[in-house]
Every structure is written in C-alpha cells, then in structure tokens.
C-alpha cells in the first residue's frame, strides 16, 4: 500500500536561508506522524510546501504514490489535504456552522439562498461521525479555544480532507483540552484519516504520535517509532551536538545576591501558567543559566524579571529592593540590562539608525538626555563607541538598523546593553541566529562582565552555550525548574533527561547535582496540586 504522504528530497531556499535541506518524509495512512524540532528548524516551512503555500526549490510531493505539484492551498485542499494553522482562520462573529461551510455553502432556490437547515445538518452529522463536541449555532467568539480548534478540524473534514496537518495544535490549549484533542486525533486515525502534527514538545509527540520525525536546522535528523523511543533520545536529536565552541569560563569570585525571584508565577497571554512557582537567585560575578526546550516558561520568566510582564504571584528583588511591579524605566535606571530574544521586535527600532537605536533605554538618562533634551552629539558619540568597541559592521552610525545583518544587529544591542554599566544582565538567547564569529565575541563579553562582578541571567536553548557559560544551570520544564545543577559535573545525557522533565533523585541516587537545587520534593508536590487545580479551573471554564 502506498503511503498517504511521501515527501522526496524537499529543499526550500529563501534568499540567504535554506529552510529545508533535502528532507524525506513518509507518512502512512491512518497514522499520526509528529514533526518535532526547535523553533526555526523548518517544520512549518516543510508543511507549507505540502500545503501548497510554498513551491519547493527541489524535490517532489507524492500523495498515495501520485506526484503532485500544488500551486496554491486550493490545489492541496482539492487533493485532500487540510491544514489547521496555529492562528485559527475563523470569522469571530459568525456561527460554527457558518464558519465550517464558508465558501462551500449548500444552496437552495437555484443558488439564491443558503440552505441553512441543510448546512446545519451536515455539520451535526460530521461532528457526530467523529464524536466532536461542538454547538453548531454558537458564535465563534463565544466558544472556547478548544472548540474553535475542533471547528477548524471540521472545516477541513467538510472540505473532504484525508490528511490533516496541525501546526502546533497544543500551543493554545489547556491541559484538559490537549487530552480532548488527542482523543479526537485517535478517532480520526481510527476512521482512516492521516495526521501530521507539528510540535516542539517531546512529551506530546510521544503521547500522540505513532512515528516521530525530528528536524534540525532544516534537515531531518531521524525518524523514530514513538513506542520505542525515549524522551532523552528525542531531546538529543532535537538539540543535537553542535560544533563545540570551546568556552573556558574558569571560576570567578561570586559576590552578593544581586537579583532574586521567589515563588514567581507568571501567566502567558492566554492566561495559562507559563511560570509556575520558580525561585532562584543570581549573585554578582556569576552566570546563572536557564536551559530547556523553548516554550517551557523561559520567555515569560525573563519578561517578569525585566518588567515586561507582571507576575501573578511571587516576588522579584533587585539589589535588595522589591521590584515585582517596578517599571522598565526604574529597572533600567537601577542597573538592569536586557538583551531580548527577539532583536527585531524588542531590541531595535528597525527604521531608526544606529545613533537613535543607541539611545534607546537611555532616553531618560542624564548622560545623553539631560533635562528632557537629547544631546545628539553625545548620542552619536555613544553609538560610535559601541560600534567601535563591539565591532559592528559596517561601522556607520547613520546606517539604518534594518540594513545590518542579524549578527551585527545583535552585537550592537549587546554593546548598548553592556555599556549601561549594569549590575545585572538578562540575556535571552543572545546568540540566536548569529554567525559563529559573533557568537564567540558575545560569549567573551558576557564572561568579561562576569569577571567585573556583574550578575548574568542567561537563557538559551542551545545546550552547549548554557553549559559552557553558566556557573549554575537551572533546567526549565513546563514552567518549573526541574533541577539546578553544576554544568561542569553534569553530562549532556543527564541534561537531556532533565530537559524532558524527568526529575532527579529516586533510584539514580541524585548525587550528581553539585549546585543547590531549589526544587525539592515539597515543591514538586505543590506543583502537582497546582496542576490539579488548573484542571479543575479549566473544567469550571468549560461548564461556564
């Protein structure tokens, strides 16, 4: 029997980037296939090729053995492929039925009217066949996110989809809704549908999929059976062993506690607890690293520390003061520097030149802007000093930020933040998407700061980077620190286990942890209670 989907040597190049490099993928009919990888590994690009949004640079797409070349999603839909995007394509004020039938409305009276009763009946029938719980008459804006997702799936099924692609389907769901989704997937495959499901969460891939293909840097690094693989194997495949950047971080004198967090709880934009009771402290002269697969609460934690998001519980202290609700401006003025994870979104104003970008964050300072007036001569000098010191190319302060390469943009941000004379540097993925030379440069500068007694909070999903730079290393998993370890005495395999959420202790005899672990058994229990409470809340929400 020919496989439902067969991608053969798919390569997709964008100007300057190879998003997919010779990827082969075979998905059998009636199975769930997970496509696993870090952000930017090329999962979504690959699926957009299958869905006809992108034309592959080379390679062929086969469905049931037949080669296809899709010009548009329309072609893919006609060939029986449906895609459920991460952002739902639904019209909020219209009803479930109206959304499902949109564009393919059943008609009556020679097309003069929509057959509303017929449409409703078709939707009810379809929902019944797959055991979906949806109210055909509810407006989209009034139903839960989980139900919206079911509507999206029904929309694809209504159009005759045999193969469903789900892009990060669990990202917007509560744990309970995730369970419901997985039941839905089981029902769909039982009835012969094929499902490809994009995710970066190991646990979900193992739970929901029959087979898992791992992508890294645009290449497929392996396909494994979900039943026989382990989370560690997957974590290793995903993160990989990158070229070892030789980082000799030596040891430094650690000083006083500069910043600390206690029992911090942060909710993300959807109101899900992204950070669930995290405590740590960072001392002067030390790099405190946070490792983990993306999306385990690191971003929200960093936002809470830097003042971009208000924690829902807990306390954040900086230089002895409670800054839990302090503004960005107060934190900057107290000596907190921040290298954001998305440099184009938060680090720079792309339309500004480097002189103006160099001023960002100092616009209230006495140095460059005394009495509310910007001293442009000094500001220019400041930008030129950064460019010079941090080797930003081209060395032109009048260049627009958008004209710089990613690595140079990052060096400029790093320079601007490090030159603040900070007490604490919060560096979030400081070398993401940066060339090797710049990576080394940024690493050196970070270690220099540490030498000067600055506290560094480093978040990175690159295992080598956090291991090499950190003095103490916390591993984040589902909003908690699984453990805090001494990176020098912890192997990559052990870290892989931790990143997969396996707690230390038990029969391993947990003796390897050199650092002070903040997450004891008591915390774990509490976390479980919290999780249970969350589920109960979600259930309440469902009833309401």
């Amino acid at each position: 029997m020919a496989s439902a989907v067969h991608l053969d040597g798919i390569t997709k190049r964008f100007p300057g980037v190879v998003a997919n490099d010779d990827v082969d993928l075979t998905v059998e009919r009636g199975t769930v296939h997970a496509l696993l990888g870090e952000n930017g590994a090329g999962k979504t690009t690959l699926m957009n090729v299958l869905y006809g949004l992108y034309e592959p640079t080379s390679g062929t797409v086969r469905l049931d053995g037949e080669p296809h070349a899709f010009d548009s999603p329309r072609d893919a839909i006609d060939a029986g492929i449906g895609m459920i995007h991460q952002h739902f394509m639904l019209v909020d004020p219209m009803t479930v039925t109206e959304n499902i039938t949109l564009g393919s409305e059943p008609r009556k009276w020679g097309g003069l009217a929509v057959d509303r009763a017929g449409a409703r009946e078709a939707v009810v029938e379809l929902a019944d066949r797959y055991g979906f719980d949806v109210d055909p008459d509810a407006r989209i804006e009034d139903v839960s996110v989980g139900e919206q997702q079911r509507v999206e799936i029904l929309k694809a099924l209504y159009r005759g989809a045999d193969t469903l692609i789900l892009d990060e389907p669990t990202a917007v769901l509560t744990p309970q809704e995730v369970d419901e989704l997985f039941e839905v997937l089981d029902e769909l495959t039982a009835q012969g549908k094929t499902i490809i499901f994009i995710t970066h969460k190991l646990g979900e891939a193992m739970r929901a999929a029959d087979e898992i293909s791992v992508l890294r840097d645009g290449r497929k690094v392996g396909t494994v059976e979900a039943a026989t693989t382990t989370q560690e194997e997957l974590a290793e495949l995903m993160v990989g062993r990158e070229v070892l950047l030789d980082i000799d971080h030596g040891t430094a004198e650690t000083g006083e506690v500069v910043a600390s967090a206690s029992e911090v709880v942060v909710e993300d934009d959807r109101g899900v607890r992204a950070v669930d009771g995290v405590s740590f402290d960072v001392r002067g002269g030390e790099v405190f690293g946070i490792a983990g697969v993306d999306g385990n609460g690191q971003s929200e934690l960093v936002e809470a520390v830097t003042g971009l998001r208000t924690p829902d519980a807990g306390e954040i202290r900086f230089r002895g003061e409670d800054v839990t609700t302090a503004s960005r401006r107060d934190r900057i003025e107290a000596g907190m520097a921040y290298v954001p994870e998305d440099r184009q979104e938060r680090g720079l104003v792309m339309e500004f030149d480097l002189v103006e970008n160099g001023l960002l964050g100092s616009q209230h300072g006495r140095e460059l802007a005394a009495n509310g007036r910007i001293d442009w001569a000094k500001t220019r000098g400041h930008a030129e000093a950064i460019i010079d010191e941090y080797d930003v190319r081209p060395p032109d302060a009048d260049a627009g930020a958008e004209s710089l390469s990613g690595g140079n943009q990052q060096k400029f941000i790093v320079g601007r933040e490090f030159e603040r004379d900070p007490e604490l540097v919060v560096a979030s993925h400081p070398t993401r998407g940066v060339d090797v030379g710049s990576i080394e440069f940024i690493h050196e500068r970070l270690l220099e700061l540490r030498e000067q007694g600055v506290a560094v909070l480093l978040v990175s999903s690159k295992l080598e980077e956090v291991r090499g730079l950190s003095d103490r290393l916390a591993v984040a998993y589902e909003g908690e620190f699984v453990d805090v370890v001494d990176p020098d005495e912890t192997t990559e395999e052990e870290l892989g286990l931790l990143m997969a959420g396996e707690r230390p202790g038990g029969d391993d005899g947990g003796d390897e942890g050199g650092g002070p672990a903040t997450t004891g058994d008591g915390d774990a229990d509490e976390a479980e209670r919290n999780a249970a409470a969350d589920l109960a809340d979600a259930a309440d929400g469902e009833r309401a």
């Binding site: 394509m89 019209v91 109206e98 959304n99 839960s144 996110v145 509560t174 809704e177 809340d537």
Partner: protein, 368 residues
C-alpha cells in the same frame, strides 16, 4: 472583541472575559433599545400632552408629528441618505471603508439630470446617475483594492472630485452651477391605503421611495440569506479565513464596492430627479447627506433595516423642524442638522460600541 476567545485558555480569564463579553453584548443592544424606547415614550407623552392641551407648545408639536406631511417629508429626505447608507454597509462590511459616499451622491445627482435633460426620460436619467456613480466607485475600488491606497484618503478624493466636477460640468454645459429643471416623475398612489390618516404618506410617494423599500429588504436578504452576503461579512472580518476557504477576497471586495456605487447612485439620482434640478452651489444639493449616511449605518449597526430606521429618525427630526417653522416656532435648522452627528458621537464613543468589522480599512494580499 476577538481577544476574548484567544484569552480564554485559563478558566478564570475565560469566565471574566465571558462576563465582560456578554456585558458589552447587552450594552450594545440595551443602548439601542433604550434609545428606541425613550423616543417612543417621548413621542407618546408628547401626543398625550398634545391631546390634553391642544393650544400649548406640546399641542403644536403633536400636530406637527402626526401631520401626514411630516411623514411624507421624512420619507422624501430619507431616500438619498438611506440609499447611500445601504451602499456604505456593503462596502464597509467587505472591509473597504467608503467615505466617498457624498461624492457618489453628487456625481449621480448631476448625471441623472444631465442624462434626463438629454434624453427627456426620467428613468433613463436615473440609470445615467447610477452608471456615473458606479464608474466613480469602480475608480475608488481600483485605487484602494488594486493599488492598495489608503481608503480614507481615496474616499476623500472621491468626494472632492465629485464636488468639483459636477458643478464644473454644469457650468460648462449650462453656464451655471445649477442645471435647468427637467420633468419629474409623478407619485405612485395606492388607492384606498393612501387615504389612511398619517400612514397614508407611505402609499402616496415618489417611485424612489418604493425602490428604497425594495433595496432595504433586498440588502437585508443578501446579508442574512445568501452565500455572497456571508462572503462579504467574512471578507471584512477575517479575509484570511475567506481566502483559505477558497473564495477570492479581492473579487468579493470589488463586487461590494461596485454595489455601493450602484446604491449610492440610486440615492443621488432620486434626490435630484425628485426636484427636477441639480443645484451645485457650495456643498451642492447633496449637502452632507453622504456623511449622514455613514452616521446612519453606524447607528444602525451595519444592519440595512437599522440604517433605514436611523435615517428616518434623522430625517424625521428635520421634517418636524420644517413643519414647526411653518407654524411659526423656529428651532434653528442648524441645530437640527447637527443632531445626527451629536448622536453618533455619543453612541459610538460613550455607550453603544458599534462593532466595526475587524478588518475594515485593512488591505488584504494573498500570501503565495
């Protein structure tokens, strides 16, 4: 509005958002119900007072209100505004804000007279007005949809082009910004019903009034019952959803803007043909009716029937004022004329929360 579902993952947030949602939902409708209820109550109270004290101010007002002339005048005033409002609904629901309705009214008002003058046929003139307005709307569509120009600026351009072009054409052709008069079409009178007190005005009116009733009903039908109406709504709310469903957003929007040209054209042609003349001095005879139309459909919450009723309310105020003036009680016309705008500011800003289509004013481009 659309934030609520996105927020909804956490139960507490969900419930809170849900309450908030239903709160504003209620607000939306209770406010309108309140306005309607207060209007009815005021009218009833006034009529009662008028009955009891026929010689008082209330009595005069009650007389003015119940006069058949008032309803007739209100209907006549409503025609161009309501047609333009219907056109505005089509365009804006599809995601294209058409603030050039005023310009469409002006160009069709002049063209209708010109064509009627040339051919001698009232209905040929009417068709001429519709064609002129549709052509201008087509230009607007090409500029905003095809070339992705800013809709507000392009809409203002439509107004200014028409405001300059129509009186200029009249000047060139007739030597004056005002055209000579042409024949008007007689009223259509339904026997017996036309003799009803007060409501008789509904059955003895110019043909354009009946055409308007048909247009209101037709528009309602299109939005509520046809697939095309749904596509227009989807195109204005979430064009991407429509696009992925395999319907061309561009085509839907072109169609919607052209329909708005046709409807506004009917309004403009009816306006000038009703008087048999186009007057082009100052703001021309259209004199802001296109802008009141925008207010009317916002107040009517994009519902064709609601827009028509709002138009009647505004036109009714104007008509009452005219009747009162004839009876020697002068409320300055200017005050009456600003009421729609005051009402819409209050409604939009303070209480009503008319919900604009999510993607109104935004360009859409298929990503391929």
């Amino acid at each position: 509005m659309s934030d609520a579902p996105a927020d909804g993952a956490d139960a507490d947030a969900d419930i809170a958002a849900g309450n908030d949602e239903s709160g504003s939902f209620f607000d939306r409708y209770t406010t309108r119900a309140l306005v309607a209820g207060a209007t009815v109550a005021a009218v009833v109270a006034l009529l009662l007072a008028g009955l009891l004290f026929p010689d008082s101010l209330a009595g005069t007002l009650a007389d003015a209100l119940t006069s058949e002339n008032t309803l007739a005048a209100a209907l006549r005033l409503s025609v161009p505004i309501a047609f333009a409002a219907l056109g505005g609904i089509f365009a804006e629901k599809s995601g294209v804000i058409n603030i050039g309705l005023e310009g469409l009214l002006i160009i069709s008002a002049f063209s209708a007279i010109y064509v009627a003058d040339l051919t001698g046929g009232v209905w040929v003139g009417f068709a001429g007005g519709v064609v002129a307005s549709t052509l201008l709307a087509a230009l607007f569509a090409v500029v905003t949809i095809g070339f992705r120009a800013d809709q507000i600026i392009a809409g203002l351009a439509v107004w200014l082009i028409a405001l300059g072009l129509a009186p200029f054409a009249s000047q060139v052709i007739y030597g004056s910004p005002n055209t000579p008069t042409v024949a008007t079409s007689p009223s259509i009178t339904v026997p017996v019903l036309a003799d009803l007190p007060f409501f008789g005005a509904l059955f003895s009116a110019s043909p354009s009034v009946y055409l308007l009733f048909a247009a209101v009903a037709g528009s309602w039908y299109v939005f509520e019952r046809t697939a095309f109406g749904r596509w227009i709504r989807a195109s204005g709310e979430n064009p991407k959803a429509l696009d992925t469903a395999g319907v061309s957003v561009t085509r839907v929007r072109y169609a919607a803007v052209l329909i708005s040209g046709v409807l506004a054209g009917m309004g403009g042609a009816a306006l000038s043909l009703d008087l048999g003349q186009f007057t082009g001095n100052g703001p021309t005879m259209v004199n802001g009716k296109g802008f009141i139309a925008i207010v009317a459909y916002l107040f009517g919450n994009y519902n064709p029937v609601g827009a028509f009723l709002s138009t009647m309310l505004f036109a009714g105020l104007d008509a009452v004022q005219t009747v009162l003036q004839l009876q020697g009680i002068g409320i300055p016309r200017q005050l009456i004329r600003i009421t729609p705008f005051v009402i819409v500011i209050v409604v939009l800003a303070l209480v009503g929360r008319t919900r604009l289509p999510e993607a109104a004013g935004e360009h859409y481009e298929t990503e391929e």
